[in-house]
Symmetry: D2
Subunit: 430 residues, 4 copies
């Protein structure tokens, strides 16, 4: 534990400042919940057991096609990224695993495993990349990868995915996430049917290489980087993929990958019902795939998604085993801070969903008492569950106030000194 | 044929005015197409064979929840509606069938059949209605129909659908279209999973009553009349329904029932590929389910939809047998004129799609020549196919200029005198 | 006060059940807020002073173009509507005024005034109606009203608006709200420029009849009932109207009248900055102008709107004097319950916005500390302000639990007996 | 003329192949239009006089935040970009000016002017860039430029805009286009009102430096690169800017910068009516600011925009003098080909709009004959105006078939040899 990036003394000291207020608030909230027939400690135990993975690329500063404005002390490689991830886990105690990206995170898998072990970090789903060209790659993905018209390009993409599985095996990962940028920018450029046939054929080859105890997650997205059509454009197509591939294939939901106005919580319910929900890439958005911090734009929607998840757990829905990951682009904040705040918002939504009186809700639904059904959800959502979240962190050795403790630690200043900038901002691709 | 509503002499006379110009334009277009390797007469024959059904309710004036402003001479019942449909067919020769709506069109089925025979009209898919309460109906559909929480309401809705099939059998229909308004207006009001389970159970009961040579079409819609969630919200759910029900079940696409920005032509391609496309409810829209005249807002999208249909025909896609119907709300025009103009726009898109050089397109697609692939579509779309459409009407006894001929006939003035108004405009439901 | 619809004893009795828990929760919240430097009683006083108007038409059951499903005991005229409004005010103490609609609420203005006085209700902005045809109206508004191509129709619409002002004068109203359905369903149907010129001319005539101490509110809406273009389509056009008319003209914001994804709180800020914000029609929506209950779909957005309003108050923005009204369609709930719940949600958002630490926020904004700026808003939003809302109602004689007290009162059962149904559901206008 | 990049002989030779067919088609179209009372040669003259500017950055391959896939022979600097622009102008004869971007195109302005003169190219509006950081720039634009909280950053941005004007003066430009990326990614990050006040102050400083015969164009955009709010988010704010700045300030419309479903042609009409339309950045889009080729997704919308422009010209609208530029991102095509095809599509829409029978249209509008008004537009839109476009190019020395002639010229192969690649694809900024 001595390897952890923030000093345990600092965490203890910082926690001391807030401890009395937290105890008071937790106690009062416990009293309130008790009136509603809820045991606060049982909720806190569930919250303490909830985890969400950090994407390795999330600890670097993101950008847009117009520009990327680097932040200070950015990690220069996967080992420094893991250090940053360890900060997030140390203070929030909600993010014990990291999701790697091949080839961006390429390194000796055994060294990666050792580094993870030293920091107390495990490895979540592996991510392949066929939406950009790696240096010295033989064939370009300019016109597609797994669905490319040229069999040689498809084969290269298949092999890349299989290689990603191989790396993951060493790390202890149990899933492969496949997101492709394949699609078209012009009506006529691509034949929708033939492109999807090629995609399915390629995915079947990847599926065949999947170990028995692994799962494969396909991810849909309405648009971007392709701007007229995308091969895996929505959950309907994603479901078809999971169905065609077999029992180890599931459909992943990124909250920002849908058309405007779409009811995402309903899509989640459908995928659970048909036993094909892989899990989530969490973020928030106002316009498109904005990749903003989870819960920062529409926290009630995030709650409604968790309402479906807790309902499924409650009903013991078959094959229900979702994987949770944050997937955001941090353009104007310190990525460590954004990831800590986002993990907390995700847990907040989960905790609120746990407070829903499901027996009352079902009864209101059955009698078509729409108003009271809605009030039942709102009562859970408007409860200030902050004390539960803080208590769950505290009991696991984390920080009552992760952002404040992080700022007090001087970690960013320290790594800024240790990691010389690679040259400031880049000018983007318009 | 003497029963037809417009005098044959008038049609002949009106056609005489435009005949020479049409002959000249058709001849020149034939020359142009010949340079592109296309036989104009072969195209005209295909166009002449294309049909789209008229919905019986389309010949009345539509409205919004704010108001309905009646037009003069509106049909007062199904027999007068059939007269109006006969005008559309007589002048366009593209709409030989009518799609009935139960219970709005309730009448002795044998009389309906006889009336249709007299007017040269057949009967297309039957439509049930469980989105509003009929007079003297035992249970209300306020909180749903086929997915209602109360088994008695579901049973009533099932029986209504079976009754609709029975009527259709007498009329020679071969399909039942099921669109429901079931859904919710509040988060929490409905449990998505349980509601969908009930819907599937009800539909299975309807499916069991379907004759062997019939098909059942379910129709998805993102929202309205329910404004938070809809049971059959999108093509993904619609596909699941068709899959759960069996080989006689298909997913119907109404062009106005999707989220903003969604690529509808791609959905069409997916449903064809997985052998579950029922067909279309044609209309156009700018915002929501606006039910505007086909091709009036985005004619290129309509062309792209037909590009998929012609491509499927070209590839001899298995199980490909779509049903075509217009479904619009005519709030500010004479419905007969709107339906004639819409039928023509639908045929225009089909004709343009027939002109696509599919061999060249495939070759550009295979070589990722996005620009020329797009130009290949645009070349077909920018061709003025008006002469082909007019010629196809002419050879079948229709009008070169249906709108002009209709106006010259004085039909609307005649029926206005015959059909006293039921009392002007209604004030809507806000 | 004896005229109030719910017995005072019942309210007292019901409040007794919750009083001890409320006192405890209020006290603990006061302690929490005190730690943040906030005086809970000062907040409660502000909340108690906040009002939002009830639209007379809101107490009837709404519907869609597909159907309207009546509820039991619906008010049969404006006097019964006022009774229902009095229930809402009696229990929530947040809705002391009613907004009338001409001609739906036509009655002897003096009798209306007397009825309002007896119930303790005042009269808010008057609403004209030129989006539907009243019985025996000379000219139809089928093709527009204030912007109609025919001067006689425009004159009729102008006179109707002036008549509405005259009625309002007797009632003590101080504002006229003008929402029109004018627009077009087809490209080409209307010349945008000429239609807007006619609209401005008509509004100038109405403006000329406005008393000196009145204001006129124009309301924009992207679409519906017109589905291709709307004369007053967005806040840009609405601002131009207010600017062209003069200092008594302001732009009203209905939360459901915008394009998908639009940042409404920013529009609010712009209208405040340019001194043209009239006020709000509150509701919530997921797809279009869904007219759902306020705060039921996106409560964080409602909070962000109030964050702008409280910020403007804080900055003492010139000409800042917004009018607040609820404008919803209650299709599946008891309208009295929905309006009480909505008034509470609006006050919740206002209360949360009052808790924002504006000094800290400004400092984070100035230093571009995006994360802490956002956390500052979230801290206010996640505070459970329920005890403040209940206390504010209690001190003014209202109910701690308005919905529960209403249900306990048997009011709906009583009026259902007193108000025989006019004949059940209507079948809609498709 | 000897400096032109494609050999005149080749153009002549290629034109020879199509000349007879064009003459035939043009003659027949003339006959058709004559029947409609239109003089084809008068139309062709107008079309030949129409120009649209090329953005210097458009001739390079674009990309997304995920990747940029370079094309062969990309220009390595502004002088090579001008060579590529000259190809477009030589073959289409519709793009005689180039719009430069400071600092991307930085070079000795006199050399630029001389190069332009040699190629027969003039210089259109100048574009400043404060949405990315230039190398060695003192202050970063990470948190804004003209609206930044820090006065020093604002001053730097002001000076950059003034420098851009200075460069433009030498080149003969007469307008400055200002598009900024300023905005926020989090609710709370920015105070909308204070940010807009700062923006207006900065713009006033730039405006003060504008020569008397120049215009300044501000450009609105709903989102991207900022994903929660944008300082100049829509045409309403853009109008306010133009109004605040003064008579030389106008609002520029980029077709891809609006919310979903918005009626852009109506915005164009409003800006014309209030004498503040700057002009256009042409492109097409399906989802967001996709920057696809003009007319490739919704050609009817492009026609409707031009319908407003031709109508304004027809009505002699005061202050009507729009600037036209293409602004696209060419990710999967040869940029020269896309720009030629796009210029042609823009001219196609203009030509179709010229064919609208405005007298008939006005009459249908006045009598509320919505159907015939729409048919009047559709008749113009469905006319195949290809022969007019080709003839207009031919008479000005351009190519009948610009794409075919370009491919036949081997220009891309030649420059690929001359311009060694800078190193292939880049990996994007996620």
């Amino acid at each position: 534990m001595s390897a952890l990036p923030i000093s345990a003394e600092l965490v203890t000291e910082q926690n001391g400042i807030e401890a009395a207020a937290l105890a008071n608030d937790y106690s009062h909230l416990g009293e309130q919940l008790d009136r509603r027939g809820i045991d606060i400690d049982a909720i806190t135990r569930k919250v303490a057991a909830f985890h969400v993975a950090i994407p390795s690329w999330g600890v670097g500063t993101g950008g847009t096609r117009f520009a990327r404005f680097a932040g200070p002390g950015e990690p220069r490689g996967i080992f420094e990224k893991l250090d940053d991830c360890a900060v997030i886990q140390q203070l929030t105690r909600a993010t014990p695993t990291v999701s790697l990206h091949n080839p961006w995170d390429k390194a000796d898998p055994k060294e990666l495993k050792a580094k993870g072990d030293a920091l107390g970090l495990g490895f979540d789903a592996m991510n392949s990349n066929t939406f950009s060209d790696a240096k010295d790659q033989k064939h370009s993905y300019k016109f597609g990868s797994l669905s490319h018209t040229d069999a040689a390009v498809r084969q290269q993409a298949i092999e890349h995915n299989i290689e990603t599985i191989e790396i993951g095996k060493v790390l202890g990962s149990k899933a492969l996430t496949v997101w492709i940028g394949d699609g078209s920018n012009f009506p006529g450029q691509s034949n929708f049917t033939r492109a999807f046939e090629r995609y399915l054929d390629s995915m079947k080859a990847v599926y065949a290489a999947l170990p028995d105890d692994w799962r494969i997650f396909s991810e849909h997205k309405l648009y971007e980087p392709a701007f007229y059509s995308t091969v895996v454009q929505d959950w309907g197509t994603n479901y078809l993929i999971a169905q065609e591939l077999g029992p180890k294939a599931f459909a992943l939901v990124d909250l920002g990958h849908h058309a405007p106005n779409v009811n995402i919580e309903m899509i989640v319910a459908r995928l659970i019902q048909f036993e094909k929900l892989a899990g989530f890439h969490f973020n928030d958005s106002k316009y498109g795939d904005d990749d903003l911090d989870s819960g920062s734009i529409n926290p009630f929607q995030l709650f409604l998604v968790f309402n479906e998840l807790v309902d499924a757990e409650h009903r013991k829905a078959p094959s229900f085993n979702p994987a949770y990951m944050i997937d955001q682009s941090h353009n104007v904040t310190d990525p460590i801070e954004s990831l800590m705040a986002s993990a907390i918002e995700i847990l907040r939504a989960y905790t609120q969903a746990l407070l829903v009186d499901r027996k009352a809700l079902e009864s209101y639904q059955d009698s078509n008492d729409a108003l009271m059904a809605n009030q039942t959800l709102k009562r859970a959502f408007t409860t200030d569950v902050g004390p539960i979240l803080a208590k769950a962190r505290l009991v696991k050795g984390g920080a009552i106030d992760p952002i404040g403790t992080y700022r007090a630690s001087g970690y960013r200043q320290r790594v800024t000194a240790e990691r010389p900038s690679s040259g400031g901002s880049s000018s983007g691709i318009v």
